[in-house]
C-alpha cells in the first residue's frame, strides 16, 4: 500500500501549478491589467477633481481588486477539467481538499498577491491619503485570500457547466459582501487617520473561517462536477 503523506500531496500539486502558471506570463498580467482598467474607469466616469476622487478611492480600488481576483479565479479548475487531470486528482489516494488548497495557493500567489502589492499605486492615482495604504494592503491581502477560498467553491461548482463564468459571478459575489464592506470601511477609516484595527480583526476572522472550511466544500463540489 502506498504511504499517504500530506506534504507530498501539497508540494506535488503546488509544483505542478507553479510551473504551469510560470509558463504563461499571461496568467499574471491579465488580472493586473483588468484591475488597472477598472480603476481607470472610475475617474473617467465622474469629474476627476482630487477631492471628488478621494471620496470614492477606497471603494473603487476594492471593487476593481475584487473583480480582477474573481476573473482570475473563474477558470481555476476549467483547464484541469477539460484535459482530465481533475479526475486523476479525485481518484488519487492523496486528499483532494489538500490538493485544492495547493491549487488555490498557487493561483493566489500568481494573481492575488500582485494585486495586493500594486493596490497602493491605484490608490495613489485616485488621490487616497497615503496613511491609508498599509491598511489597504492588509485588508486586500485578507480579502483576496477569502475570495480565493470562496471563489474556489464557485469555480468547482460551475466547472462542468458550459457558460459557467457568469453563473460563477452570481454565486460568489453575494458571499463576498461582508469582506467588501469591512475592507472598504477599514481603508476609509485609515485614510482619514482613524484606527481601523477593529474592522481588520473581523476581516481576519472571516478570512480564517473561509480559508479553513472552504477546501472541504470545494472537494465535495469537484466530486459532484465529475459525476
Amino acid at each position: 500500500m502506498n504511504e499517504l503523506s500530506y506534504r507530498r500531496a501539497f508540494s506535488l500539486q503546488l509544483r505542478k501549478e507553479l510551473t504551469q502558471l510560470g509558463r504563461r506570463y499571461g496568467s499574471v498580467l491579465t488580472p493586473l491589467l483588468f484591475f488597472a482598467v477598472v480603476v481607470a474607469l472610475f475617474p473617467l466616469s465622474t469629474d476627476p477633481s482630487p477631492q471628488r476622487l478621494a471620496t470614492i478611492a477606497s471603494s473603487a480600488v476594492w471593487v476593481a481588486a475584487l473583480l480582477a481576483a474573481m476573473l482570475a479565479q473563474q477558470t481555476l479548475f476549467r483547464g484541469d477539467f477539460e484535459d482530465g487531470s481533475l479526475q486523476l486528482m479525485a481518484l488519487s489516494a492523496l486528499p483532494l481538499w489538500l490538493q485544492v488548497i495547493a491549487k488555490q495557493m498557487a493561483h493566489w500567489l500568481v494573481s492575488g498577491l500582485p494585486l495586493v502589492l500594486l493596490s497602493p499605486l491605484a490608490a495613489y492615482s485616485l488621490n487616497m491619503a497615503p496613511q491609508g495604504y498599509t491598511t489597504l494592503m492588509v485588508s486586500l491581502l485578507l480579502g483576496s485570500l477569502s475570495l480565493s477560498s470562496l471563489g474556489a467553491i464557485g469555480a468547482a461548482l460551475t466547472v462542468s457547466i458550459r457558460q459557467g463564468g457568469l453563473l460563477f459571478a452570481v454565486l460568489v459575489l453575494p458571499l463576498m459582501v461582508p469582506v467588501l464592506i469591512l475592507g472598504t470601511q477599514a481603508t476609509e477609516l485609515a485614510s482619514k487617520g482613524d484606527n481601523a484595527a477593529g474592522l481588520l480583526n473581523m476581516l481576519v476572522a472571516i478570512c480564517l473561517l473561509s480559508v479553513t472550511l472552504s477546501p472541504f466544500a470545494t472537494a465535495a463540489a469537484i466530486r459532484v462536477s465529475l459525476d
Binding site: 470562496l150 467553491i153 461548482l157 460551475t158 462542468s160 457547466i161 459557467g164 453563473l167 452570481v170 454565486l171 459575489l173 453575494p174 458571499l175 459582501v177 461582508p178 464592506i181 469591512l182 470601511q185 473581523m202 472571516i206 472550511l213 472552504s214 466544500a217 465535495a220 463540489a221 459532484v224 462536477s225 459525476d227
Partner: protein, 247 residues
C-alpha cells in the same frame, strides 16, 4: 422515538410521501387562508394607526412575515439539502428544490413591500436600509441556488451542487446580515426602524402573529405542493408513477 423514525423512513419513500402530501395539503391550505384573512381584517380594520406613521404601519402585517419567513425558507432549504446530501435522500433534495423558488418569491415580496413602505417613511422608494439590503443579498443567494440547480442536465447532480451552495450560503447569511447592519450604522444615523418590533402595543402584535402563522401554514402547503411536483419530475420513470397515472 422509533415511531418518529419509522414515519421518517416511510416518508422517505417517494410514493408514500406523494400520497401523504396529497392528503395533507388541504389541511394546511385552509387554516392558512382563514388565519390570514382574520389577520388581514384585524390589521386593516381593527388595529390602531401609528401616531407617527399613520396607516402605513399596516404594511408591517405583510412585510414582516414575508421577511421573517424568507430567512426561515433559506435555513430550512439548507437543512433539507444537508439531509439529502448526508443520507442521499432524493426526497430531501426534492424538498430543497421546492423551497428555493418559494423562498425567492417571499424575499421579493419582502423587498417590494419594504420599498413601498419606504416611500411615506423616507420619501423615496429605495433606501439602502440595513434590512432591505440584506433582504436584497438574500434574494441574490436564492437566485444563485435556483440557477445553479437547473444549470445541470442531470437532476441528481444539480441537486447535490445546489446542496453545497445552500450549505455554504447558510453559513454566510448571518455574517452578511451583521456586516450589513454594521455598515448601515456606520454610514447612516439610526433611521426610523421600519418594523419597530420592540415596544409595539398588543393590539398590533395580535394581527402580526396571526399573519406570521397564516403565512407559515401557507408556505408549508405550497412547499408540499411543489415537492410533489419535484418528486414527479425525478421519479417520472418509475413504475409507481405510471400506475398512478394510469389508474
Amino acid at each position: 422515538m422509533n415511531a418518529f423514525m419509522t414515519w421518517f423512513y416511510q416518508m422517505s419513500s417517494p410514493p408514500h410521501f406523494y400520497r401523504w402530501a396529497g392528503r395533507a395539503i388541504p389541511w394546511f391550505m385552509w387554516p392558512a387562508l382563514i388565519l390570514s384573512a382574520v389577520a388581514a381584517y384585524l390589521g386593516l380594520v381593527r388595529s390602531p394607526e401609528d401616531y407617527q406613521m399613520g396607516h402605513t404601519v399596516r404594511i408591517m402585517y405583510v412585510h414582516v412575515p414575508s421577511a421573517w419567513l424568507s430567512m426561515w425558507c433559506y435555513t430550512s432549504m439548507a437543512v433539507a439539502s444537508a439531509i439529502g446530501w448526508i443520507w442521499r435522500m432524493k426526497l430531501a433534495h426534492a424538498v430543497a428544490a421546492a423551497i428555493a423558488p418559494a423562498g425567492a418569491a417571499l424575499t421579493f415580496l419582502a423587498l417590494v413591500t419594504g420599498a413601498i413602505w419606504g416611500k411615506p417613511t423616507w420619501g423615496t422608494y429605495w433606501v439602502w436600509d440595513a434590512r432591505l439590503t440584506s433582504e436584497l443579498v438574500l434574494l441574490f443567494l436564492f437566485m444563485g441556488v435556483v440557477l445553479l440547480r437547473n444549470a445541470f442536465e442531470d437532476r441528481a447532480q444539480g441537486d447535490r451542487a445546489a446542496a453545497i451552495l445552500a450549505i455554504v450560503g447558510v453559513v454566510n447569511v448571518p455574517i452578511i446580515h451583521y456586516s450589513v447592519n454594521w455598515w448601515n450604522t456606520l454610514h447612516q444615523s439610526a433611521s426610523v426602524s421600519v418594523a419597530g418590533k420592540s415596544g409595539i402595543d398588543s393590539s398590533m402584535l395580535m394581527p402580526l402573529l396571526l399573519m406570521v402563522l397564516g403565512f407559515t401554514l401557507y408556505l408549508v402547503a405550497l412547499i408540499l405542493m411543489r415537492t410533489r411536483n419535484e418528486v414527479l419530475l425525478r421519479e417520472s420513470r418509475k413504475r409507481w408513477v405510471q400506475e398512478l397515472v394510469q389508474s
